[in-house]
Every structure is written in C-alpha cells, then in structure tokens.
Amino acid sequence: MLLASLPFYPLISFILLIVFAKRLSWHVASFISVGAMAIAALVSMRLVLELSAMPDSVMTANLWHWFNLVTKQGSSDVNMSFYLDGLSAVMICVVTGIGFLIHLFAAAYMKDDANFTRFMAYMNLFIVAMLVLVLADNLVLLYLGWEGVGLCSFLLIGFWYHEKANVLAARKAFIVTRIGDTSMAIGLLLLFNSFGQLNIEALSSLLQQIGSSGTGFSTEQLNDIYWIALLLLGGAVGKSAQLPLQTWLPDAMAGPTPVSALIHAATMVTAGVYLIARMHHLFMFSPEVMTYVAWLGAITLLLAGFAALAQTDIKRVLAYSTMSQIGYMMLALGAGAWSAGVFHLMTHAFFKALLFLTAGAVILALHHQQDLFKMGGLLKKLPVESALFVVGLVCLMALPGTSGFFSKEAIIAQLWSSNTAGPALWWCAIIGAFITSIYSCRLFFLAFLGNKRYRTGLVVEKANLMRSALVVLAMLSLFGGLISLDLSQVFQSARASISFENEPSWLHSVAIATPFFGILFAWYYFKNYRLTKGQDDYVLSASTHSFAVFCRNGLGFDSLYKRLFILPYTWLAKLNRNDIVDKTLMSSAWYIGLWHDVMTMIQNGSLRWYLAAFGLSILVLVGVTIL
C-alpha cells in the first residue's frame, strides 16, 4: 500500500547512505537522497489526491502489531500503523514537499563538505522520523517519531562537531527539548492510566462519547484531562520552542543552514503545534489549558519579536521570527482556531524555508559571514537572492495577497470573539504583527541596502539546483495562500459556536493596516541602515544600549536559567565530586576483592598448612557437634 510505504523511501536512502558512506560520490549520494525525497513527495501528492476521493477522508495502513498494553479497563493494542486524515495530509505534504526542496538545496549547498553523505543521511532519517510522527495512529508511535526528530536535530545541529560551540548548542537543544519530552511522556502515561487508550482515533471517540453522554465527565476525569493537557502542552512547548523552553532554538542555528530551514523552521518545530491540533479533542474539554496555550503563544510571539529586533546574526533573526510565528500558531490553537493554526503552519513552512535558504545562499556568497552589520548593499550584487528574500519577508509580514496574509489574518480574525482568547490576545497579535514587520524591514535594510560593509569579494554561484529550489519555494510562498485547506472533517467536533456579532467594525482594517505601519516606522527609524553614506569605509555597529543588549541575549532567559538551574546543579555535582552513591556501590566490589586476596593467600601450596587447616577444621567440627 502506498501509505504504508511512505516513510520507507527516505529510510532506504538513509540506510544506503550510512552503509556506503564515503564510497559514494557526490552525484550518487545526492541522487539517492534527493531522489528518495522526490519519490516521497510524489507519493504524498498521490495520497492526498486519493484521500480527497475517499468518502470519510481517512486512510489507514496497518504494518504490524507492535505490543499490547493491558490495564484494568481492558487492553489496548499498540500497532505500527499509519493514519492519514486532512491534518496529517497537510503535514506529509509540508514534510516531504518542503523537505524535497530543502534536500535539493542542501545537495548543492553542502557539496564541498567532507561528510556530505553523513549529512544527507541524517536529513533523510529526520524525514523518516517526522513522517512517523505525523502519520502515527497511536501516541506511542507518535512519541517514537517525536524522539526520532529530537535525535536527528541533535545530530544535525552538532554536524560540524569540530567546533565546541556547535556541540554545546546541540547538547543544549537535546537537553532542553528532553525536558518537554519528559513532561509529554508523563502525560501519555497519565492518559493511558485514566482512559486506557492510546490510539488517537479511539481516544477521540471515547472522549466524544463520554462528553456527549448524559452524565458527562466526572470531576475526577476533568481533573485528569486538565493535567494531561497541561503535560502534553509541556511537550509541545519544548519541541516548538515556546516559552519557557525556547532557549534552544536560537543556538540551534549553529547547524548548517539547510538544517535550520528544514528542522528549525519548516517541520520539526511545528511538531508541537501538530500534537496539540491532533489532540484537540482532549484540549477542547479543558478550556483553562487552551487559554494557557493562547497566552503562552502570545507572550512568546511578543518576546521573540523583541529579541529579533536586536539580533546581529541573520540566522538568529530568522530563528526568533520562527519562534514568534509559532507563537501565532499556538495562539490560534489556544483560541480554538484549529484550521487557521494548521494553515499558518503550512504557509509558514513555505516562506520560512525560503527565507532560511535564501539567507543560506547569501551567507555562502559572503564566505560564511552571518553578521548583518558586515553585509549591506547586496541588492545590486545579488539581485535574484534579494528578490527571493523580499518575497519571503513580504509573506512573513503578511502583506495582503501573500500566503502569510491569508493564514495570519485567519488567526487574528478569530481571536477577538473566541471563548478561550479575547481582545487582550487580539491586541497581542496585532502588536506582534507590528514588530514582525519592523524586524523584517530592519533585516532587509541591513543586509541588502545601505553601504557595502563586507571586505571580501562575493562568490556568486551559478548553482541552478539551489536557485530552482528557491524559486519553487517563492512561488509557494506567494500563492500558497490560495490552497484551500479543508480541515472541517478533522475538526468537525471542534466547531464551537463563535458569534462574531459583538466585534467592532474596525478590527479587520486595523489588522490589515498594521504591517504597513510597521514598515513606515522602520522606514524612518532605521533610516541610517538603509541610506547609502558617502564614505566607502563606513562602519555600522549594533546598538550598545543596555536594553538592546538585553534583547539580543534573548531577554535574559539564558542567564536566568543558568542562575536557576545550571549553577546549582554544577554546584551539587562539584559537592558530590567523590560520588557517594558510586562509592557505596564500589564498596561491594572492594569486599569481593578483599575475599579474593584472602583466598589466594590460603592457596599457598604448602602441604603442611593445608594439613593444619584440615586438622583445625575437624577439631572445630567435632567441637561444634559435641557442644
């Protein structure tokens, strides 16, 4: 079956690449990996076509029985089986489609790397894990994919492991997301304990059934749902880099640029959004947690926006903007605007992949220079890249007509009257949009306008492979908003009755006009970034105002966590340098060693000693018997 085979194309490619490794030439290796992705992308398209022909828009494929879980409520099968509905169809299209384009780009981008095959193998493995995650029909399989993407993220961030900073960034990403994963694992266990079911389909119908029955949920069950939703939210927050586990994402930019595009913009970080959308049946019954989701998203999108305003590294600006955009998705999910959130996930994948890859092309042209203040004036030198970047930024700012506009407006439109959101969150979203357009403009001005501030010559590559991938992404970003996403079947139970009657009439015009205000503000405020000054050796430096530095360092979260967690932990570790537990365990080894010595001493080979011991023991035996 086509559905069952989907994750196996990249998997086979991964195995081939990892087995033959450096024996493959660049041509063969890129043909295998990119070809596998192309097949996967075609298969996904085909699956979507088939799915739309299905009456109930659901496809399943059972590969094999994995194991069986038994509880007091009965037993639940955990199968290796895939479940495709509207939501996972969107995800597989994004994962394989964008994944294919990024692979295409990466094949050209990483061409000269000594470990090219290893890189492509990891990228393929990542796609496998992501496909398992989005296709899983039960939460255990989903968790497998969840951990798989975490692993690949770790491997790819630390891909250039010769530099210590990269390794530290990889480790940080792994540990921080692991905190979220632990919370999610506990959530899953709690879920299984209270409802005896881990199959997503069965679980949703079970929840529906209890919810719509006369008695409804008991207080205890509602309490359980609250905690389960909260713990799952913890997992989502870790993976999607939301407050308070967001600190890993900016550092993850240490990886090669295609990785940033694939994992930290287009796919992996949206796993958290996917999880919440997938478990929306559960979240629906816990409006408090939905409100938390919305607030978390709103706060993250504002904080990340402020942080993006002060960054000097082009990739870090994009990283913070990713966090901020995922904040929008979370906000949408929290407000109950499920399809709008998923829609924004899709369009964001288009334009953020485009932005990252174009940034990668720019960085490559500048000999791996990532500092915005050492760019400038690139508009004339790299016209194609500049145009593509502008397309990406326009979508990011959500100017009318672009894909970002459709999705972001869809989110903002539903906030005001939502039961779990409200006007306050609406204002947060508007301010977020304002900041988004300011930092987008700042980024554009710094990189492409103004004086030429780089010293080295440009390497203008005529890599058609890279260009073609970028152009396709740009088309998708511009016109992706026209894709009609019909998720009503997935979220049919979730269609809450929102009345839009009490809304003021100026809401939409304000939402549409905000990005333009942002551009206007940036046009004047960042004037010196954009204007060409007379002298040629003009040096522009980042603001050293304490607030700007504070924002640049991610609003102090890193140092806060260092104070709160890392320092006490290392203090404890130092305190327990001579590991007490280890010493206790080792004492048993010492005891055995002692007896070993005694025993060898006894075996001295002297016959008379043996005899004496013999006589003594007989004496003792007789003595004991008599007494």
Partner: protein, 102 residues
C-alpha cells in the same frame, strides 16, 4: 589379669594420634612425616584393638590387620616417592613441593 578399661585405651590412642598429627604438621623432612603417619595409623589401631577387646568382638582385630596392610602398602608407595623426590630435588624438604598454589 585385670582388664584395662576402654577409657585408658582411648586416651592412649588419642595421645598417640595427636603426637602423630603434630609430627606430620611440624616436621619438614618427608621421611619423618611418613613415620608420623605410621604413628597415627597405629594410634587408630590401638583404638580398634581396645574396642575389640572391650566388647569381646573379633572385628577390632580384623580391622587392625587391614590397617597394617594399608600401612605397608602406603609405606611402599611413600618410600618410592621419597626416592624420586631425593633424586629430583636432592632434598627431602616437604616445603619444596609447593608448586600447586593458587
């Protein structure tokens, strides 16, 4: 003729046994160890004879003859080994035979 009480016989036997055992443990010369072994065997023999006479049974004497035979065989083997040892080590010190240690 007054019968010697069994207790006295056993005390004599134990004394002889202890003397023999001490000899085996304390002596370094293998020849003397063999001789001490003979003393121990004879101590056991005395105990058998005493017990046989105390209960008026022939078994004790039968046993003693068996022990004598055993002692003769053992001495034959033991002396043969002593000759080999003397040839190999030019000494009869038992502590030289300590190669089999752990």
């Amino acid at each position: 003729m007054t019968a010697i009480p069994l207790f006295h016989v056993l005390v004599l036997s134990s004394l002889l046994f202890t003397i023999g055992f001490t000899g085996v443990v304390a002596r370094k010369n293998t020849l003397f160890i063999l001789m001490s072994l003979e003393v121990m065997l004879n101590a056991v023999g005395v105990a058998f004879i005493g017990a046989g006479s105390a209960w008026q049974q022939a078994d004790g004497q039968v046993m003693f003859i068996l022990i004598l035979t055993l002692a003769a065989a053992e001495v034959a083997v033991g002396l043969a080994l002593l000759i080999r040892m003397q040839k190999k080590y030019r000494s009869l010190d038992i502590d030289l035979l300590n190669k089999m240690k752990g």
